[in-house]
């Protein structure tokens, strides 16, 4: 009797000790467990007995590693789920799902591994689902496979595809919106807006109004906005003070001869500028702006987004003292408006399909301007062939304009 009590006490003590020594992922070897000095006199037999009880109660999970047997602990609630299951089949199925963790497991894998009859397995899964122990899930990588996961776990990023997926589908609209915001942020932080040549503010403007601000020390040369909170949010009209415009127009006359500064223009910042936004700056901004309510974006996610912008040729990394910030490319060509403003200002009736409101159109190259640059039958075009420059429809359209179109079709 005393033995059993003693074992009970030791069991609890060992369990608590193991919990104190590490997370439920840590594997404890026999030596580790002995070194906790719970088992008196390093009694191996006693230790085995205690571990056996713990395993029976599903509080310990045995693992075989290269160095021999080892164990990790399992929380009491989880263990209770195991012990509450009525039979060993259920327990095995549940163990499989449990072990798969956040990645989930394919039902065929369960079947193959357990070598279980199909109907029995289905029964087990149904039971477990009803009990609320496991749930079915969708994996982006294998959208057609039926997968199961422990009900209280969130599917891993690998399974869901990370924050960019909504219900297993890549959420391109979301990505695009977010990209535009990130791009605007980088543009605003990495350029200097010159208003009529001499007066300018850093920042392209975050809201509907043209942003101007008088420098604090009365130097009418330009200023920089360092307020972290105001970025990207709309500013009220009251913030634009009227005397700004007066100040802006006064000293510009002499200096602005060559640059034709009729409208606000973006200028590059001097070399060695230290505050080009880094990925963590952008992540902070996104976080504070509260744009992504239900998804939290880690820095790695933002990095992914910024990388795509880089691959798109919209931003470029600048290294200043080992700090990697980003700035927009081709600054003088950039529009001072934000993407959203550009979208609102865009008049679809004027024609021209604009696929993106970010950045600049690619610089024109002669090759692409000629009809041949985009010609679908370029490869077979040859003098004397069925398609040739002398009977080229595209050239005719290009040179003669649209009025010939009908004529061409009638031929």
């Amino acid at each position: 009797m005393a033995d059993r009590d003693k074992l009970q006490i030791l069991k609890d003590a060992l369990y608590e000790a193991a919990r104190d020594h590490g997370s439920d992922q840590r594997l404890f070897s026999q030596r580790d467990l002995l070194d906790m000095h719970v088992i008196p006199q390093d009694n191996l037999v006693l230790l085995i007995q205690v571990i056996q009880i713990l395993c029976d109660e599903k509080l310990f999970v045995g693992n075989t590693t290269a160095s021999g047997l080892s164990w990790r602990w399992r929380s009491r609630e989880d263990a209770k789920k195991y012990t509450s299951l009525p039979n060993s089949d259920l327990m095995m199925v549940y163990a499989m799902v449990d072990e798969a963790g956040a990645d989930g497991i394919w039902n065929r894998t369960i079947k193959n591994k357990l070598n279980m009859a199909d109907s029995l397995m289905k029964q087990c899964i149904k039971y477990l689902e009803q009990k609320g122990y496991i749930a079915s899930m969708k994996n982006v990588e294998h959208p057609n496979k039926k997968m199961y996961i422990k009900a209280n776990l969130r599917p891993s990023d690998r399974a869901t595809g990370g924050p960019w997926f909504t219900e297993g589908e890549l959420d391109t609209a979301f990505i695009n919106e977010l990209q535009e915001i990130v791009f605007d942020f980088i543009k605003q932080k990495s350029t200097y807006t010159s208003l009529g040549g001499a007066v300018g503010t850093q920042g392209g403007g975050g809201g509907g109004a043209q942003r101007e601000k008088v420098p604090k020390k009365g130097v009418v040369q330009g200023t920089i906005l360092h307020s972290e909170d105001a970025k990207g949010t709309k500013r009220s009209a009251g913030e634009i003070s009227n005397d700004d415009t007066a100040a802006a127009s006064a000293p510009t006359t002499t200096t602005a001869k060559k640059m034709k500064p009729a409208k606000p223009q973006l200028l590059p910042l001097p070399a060695g500028y230290k505050s080009y936004p880094t990925v963590s700056d952008i992540a902070k901004f996104i976080h504070h702006a509260g744009i992504t309510n239900n998804t939290t974006l880690s820095e790695a996610d933002i990095q992914q987004l910024v990388d795509v912008l880089y691959y798109d040729g919209l931003v470029e990394p600048v290294k200043v003292n080992g700090r990697k910030g980003y700035r927009v490319t081709r600054i003088p060509k950039q529009d001072t408006r934000t993407c959203n403003q550009r979208r609102l200002d865009h008049d679809p009736s004027k024609g021209g399909i604009i696929t993106s409101f970010m950045g600049v159109e690619p610089s024109a190259s002669g090759l692409m301007e000629a009809p041949c640059g985009r010609c679908p039958v370029y490869d077979m075009c040859e003098e004397g062939g069925p398609v040739s420059p002398s009977n080229c429809v595209y050239f005719r359209q290009w040179l003669d304009g649209d009025e010939v179109k009908e004529q061409v079709i009638s031929i």
């Binding site: 200097y192 040369q221 001869k257 640059m259 200043v320 080992g322 090759l367």
Partner: protein, 625 residues
């Protein structure tokens, strides 16, 4: 000497366009058959000997041919000088460039040289003299019709020519000008063998020595065309003049200095040196690129930097045979100091423009002023630049940086007024910091340009913009990912590009068809079951370039062909416009309908030729700069 078909076609059409059908037919025959004697040309071209001779004469005059005299038969054999033929298309650009930097007088001389081909100095002088005489002859011109002469005296002509020769834009013809590079090399080889190695080459050491001697010989041949320039330099006139005429180049040489120029040997035959012209065109292109990426003011400064640096650069791409061995020289890349640039910047230019003004404390001086004393090693553009350059500087610089900052903060107001050299430096530093590396800060206040990596970068940019225009921004994204990461499977590409699988596959297919992307199949086992194989996407930039080059030529050919078709169509109207009584007053003499057609043709011609020029911009960047 391999020429791609499209280029051959284009050169022939260009000759046709400029010099007529006869030379074009001879040229086409030469392109098709290679080196030919007159007898064979007659045979292949189905022209008679007199016609062939006339055609060859025109071609020879414009330096479009190479010839060698066969030692055995004593017959001359002709072959095409396709580089020279292609350069005909750049005439307009060259004239514009000369106009910008040497004034209208320079352009006029250049234009005449273009029209005349290679010319004896005395002939050119005589031609101008006749013009001047005609203009001065009061009787010939009724009061107001007297044309404004660009070149007013022989002395001025001489001075303009001297300027152009000094700039290497014009050089001298010598006996070897008409031999192809291959031919010259053969000769030099033979000479070197005869003189230095009569018993043959034995051992590696001798081989190296032989190569050096050959390179030396080749360089000597190349230098021959610069005799006039050297003579001018020896006379010392140039340096004297430079002292007097600083910053005055654009206005043409002031008249009082003309006497300083020595008279050119009237027997010398001169021609346009396209190699140097292309260097100048490259500078212009770079300036344009800077104005797009950084800003106009910085571009202006960059133009001045390039002007200084390219003074002694004779060609864009060093010849592998001749220039590879002068490594010591290569290491000492020419550099220019801030003050030298400042001396050239016009006083009317406000250097404060074009760069954002921010308080000094948010600028890291040490990072901006970082010196890079050595040229970067050959790097593939976009190949994970991020990783390559973080090595050691991070730690070292941050400390000193702090000091700088505090000093700054204690000092003056946030935006201090900078001195003019400092303003100039700001632009230069910005250029140095830029991604493509427009300039390199190679020493304290010394600047240089590494053309090779820079042009490589620029080429990639051009390719990017073409890809973006063909396959959209997503296409560009995928290409750049592949370029940075190397070969990738579809799965990886998908996660990097944040694109839907369907979109991705469609885009990749599009790019595959356009020739910008390629696939590689990697079988998993010996059976190479396509179902199990891994398919990797990759971008072959070189292949993309050569594809583009061919396409450029073909498009130019198409433009010229369309022009010819139009010309045939409007034959009647055009022949009418050619009549002497109509010429010059087409609008009054022709019927409205005819005039409208004539005007339309002129418009089309202008458009098509402009298009050819613009494609040449791309082409030049891809293969010549």
């Amino acid at each position: 000497m391999a020429v791609i078909k499209e280029k051959a076609e284009f050169c022939t059409l260009m000759v046709d366009e400029l010099y007529g059908q006869l030379p074009a037919r001879v040229y086409a025959t030469l392109f098709q058959r290679g080196k030919l004697s007159i007898r064979l040309i007659t045979q292949f071209s189905k022209l008679n000997a007199r016609q062939v001779k006339n055609g060859l004469c025109v071609l020879q005059q414009h330096n479009l041919l190479f010839y060698t005299v066969d030692a055995n038969s004593g017959e001359a054999e002709y072959s095409v000088n396709h580089e020279s033929a292609y350069n005909l298309v750049r005439a307009g650009k060259i004239l514009e460039m000369v106009d910008n930097s040497y004034g209208p007088a320079g352009r006029d001389v250049m234009q005449n040289l273009l029209l005349l081909g290679q010319t004896r100095v005395s002939d050119l002088v005589a031609a101008y003299q006749a013009k001047i005489n005609l203009a001065n002859d009061e009787d010939a011109w009724l009061d107001d019709k007297k044309p404004e002469l660009v070149i007013k005296s022989k002395a001025q002509l001489n001075s303009v020519l001297c300027r152009l020769i000094e700039a290497e834009l014009v050089d001298v013809i010598h006996s070897k000008t008409f031999q192809s590079a291959h031919e010259i090399e053969k000769q030099v080889h033979k000479e070197v063998m005869d003189v230095y190695f009569p018993n043959g080459i034995k051992g590696t050491k001798a081989k190296v020595e032989f190569e050096q001697k050959v390179a030396e010989g080749l360089r000597k041949v190349r230098e021959e065309s610069k005799t006039l320039k050297r003579k001018l330099a020896q006379n010392g006139g140039a340096s004297k003049r430079r002292k007097l005429a600083v910053g005055n180049e654009t206005n043409g040489a002031p008249e009082e200095e003309e006497d300083l120029d020595p008279a050119l040997d009237p027997r010398q035959v001169i021609r346009i040196n396209y190699e140097k012209c292309i260097v100048e065109l490259r500078s212009r292109r770079l300036v344009q690129y800077v104005s797009e990426t950084i800003g106009e003011m910085t571009a202006y400064v960059y133009g001045q930097v390039l002007k200084q640096l390219t003074k002694n650069i004779s060609r864009c791409r060093p010849d592998p045979l001749m220039d590879s061995l002068t490594l010591e020289e290569a290491k000492e890349t020419p550099s220019v100091t801030t003050n030298e640039i400042l001396d050239k910047v016009k006083t009317s230019v406000d250097l404060t423009l074009g760069i954002g003004k921010i308080p000094g404390k948010s600028i890291s001086k040490s990072a901006a002023e970082r010196l890079i004393p050595f040229a970067p090693k050959d790097k593939i553009p976009f190949m994970s630049q991020e990783d390559s350059d973080d090595d050691d500087e991070d730690g070292d610089y941050s400390d000193s940086d702090e000091e700088m900052d505090t000093k700054k903060e204690n000092g003056d107001a946030p935006v201090a007024r900078m001195s003019r050299p400092e303003q100039l430096r700001q632009h230069l530093l910005l250029l140095a910091e830029s991604q493509p590396g427009f300039v390199r800060h190679c020493g304290e206040d010394e600047w240089t340009v590494d053309f090779k990596p820079l042009m490589e970068n620029l080429r990639a940019t051009e390719l990017d913009s073409i890809i973006e225009q063909t396959c959209g921004r997503q296409g560009l994204r995928l290409t750049r990912i592949l370029r940075t990461k190397g070969k990738l499977g579809e799965q990886a590409l998908q996660s990097l590009s944040l694109m839907r699988k369907v979109d991705l596959q469609q885009k990749m297919l599009e790019m595959r068809l356009a020739g910008f992307a390629h696939t590689q199949e990697v079988p998993r086992d010996n059976k190479a079951d396509p179902k199990k194989s891994i398919f990797l996407w990759y971008c072959d930039t070189e292949q993309a370039y050569s594809g583009l080059i061919a396409k450029c030529y073909a498009t130019m050919v198409h433009c010229l062909q369309v022009l010819e078709v139009r010309r045939q169509k409007e034959k009647a109207v055009l022949s009418l416009a050619k009549r002497t009584n109509v010429k010059g007053k087409e609008k009054d003499m022709m019927r409205d309908e005819s005039y409208a057609r004539f005007a339309k043709f002129l418009k089309d011609e202008k458009l098509l030729m402009a298009e050819v020029m613009r494609i040449d911009d791309t082409l030049a960047l891809l293969q010549d700069f």
